[in-house]
């Protein structure tokens, strides 16, 4: 067989990596199921909020992933891509994966918050500082995803995407501190408040903590799978080009043989 010098080796995922991703996925499903069970059936209703407090077991966890983990990871990855000494397509793929998953979590944050807001505030939506800055963050990172679909060389796309991610990340501290900087409808932080003294206790606190862990595990699993998709897409981008080149070479070889004959 002729050695294939033109085609890049296909990106193979090791069995250990596949196993790790599978374990994280299964753990995430179990932790989520446990959170739902504790949140809906085990924990008591709140004195002031009643059963609505049960939404608190998923909403802050989802918001934590979307607003802090995913978009902050995207910002750090983008910075590391732009830094010449650490520039690598790994950081670009990680940022892209993180933003895509983060956008899904951001949508979940806005929807779950809205469902909680209707019976609590009487409206589905209010132009409140926290809600508005979160919606702006979603629009900014949707712009990031749209920009990545604009045809360009991989390094050009990575560079301009990184700049946009850093620009969008400016909104992250605004979202976090909005409840302190402005008088808002949205309540202040329950756990990560300025005094770092949680205002939730007992089984409710443990369920909230488990909710954070479960949603973080779901995020990690999605991030790993989405990163793998990025690797495969990049390979196909170059791989299909290589195949097309080989087809052209084959046509040329056949023509040469015909001329020689």
């Amino acid at each position: 067989m002729i050695p294939n010098r033109n085609v890049h080796p296909p990106p193979v995922q090791s069995p250990r990596a596949r196993w790790a991703v599978g374990i994280i996925g299964i753990t995430a499903v179990v932790a989520t199921a446990l959170t739902v069970w504790l949140g809906l059936w085990v924990t008591p209703p709140d004195q002031s909020q009643g059963d609505l407090v049960r939404l608190v077991y998923i909403h802050p966890g989802v918001a934590w992933v979307a607003l802090y983990l995913a978009f902050a990871l995207a910002a750090v990855s983008s910075l590391l891509y732009l830094w010449p000494r650490t520039r690598s397509m790994f950081w670009d793929r990680l940022a892209a994966a993180s933003v895509e998953v983060g956008v899904v979590f951001n949508v979940c944050t806005l929807i779950s918050g809205s469902i909680w807001g209707k019976p609590t505030w009487g409206v589905w939506w209010a132009w409140d500082a926290r809600l508005t800055s979160t919606a702006v963050l979603l629009v900014l990172f949707l712009g990031y995803l749209a920009l990545r679909r604009v045809p360009a060389e991989p390094d050009v796309r990575a560079k301009r995407s990184a700049f946009v991610a850093l620009f969008a990340a400016v909104d992250i501290p605004i979202v976090h501190f909005s409840v302190l900087w402005w008088r808002t409808l949205h309540q202040g932080a329950t756990v990560l408040n300025p005094n770092l003294s949680p205002t939730i206790h007992g089984s409710m606190a443990w369920t909230l903590l488990l909710g954070f862990v479960a949603v973080t595990l779901v995020f990690v699993w999605m991030l790993l799978v989405r990163y793998r998709i990025g690797v495969l897409e990049d390979y196909l981008g170059t791989g299909e080009l290589d195949v097309a080149l080989r087809e052209r070479q084959a046509e040329g070889a056949v023509t040469d043989e015909e001329e020689a004959a």
Partner: protein, 56 residues
Amino acid sequence: MRYVVAGYVVVLSILFLYGAQLVWRRRKLTRAVARVASFGEVGAPARSDDAGGDGR
């Protein structure tokens, strides 16, 4: 309580559907990569500079 149930159903459904879509995308791309790679290995036509003596 219906708002609570609605919140859980909507959030978990979105996450489940997105997760399923990720798995489907990964599977589709893995097959496409295997197809491209197999063309490179088996279906790769001979190049005159690679071919050596017999041209295969």
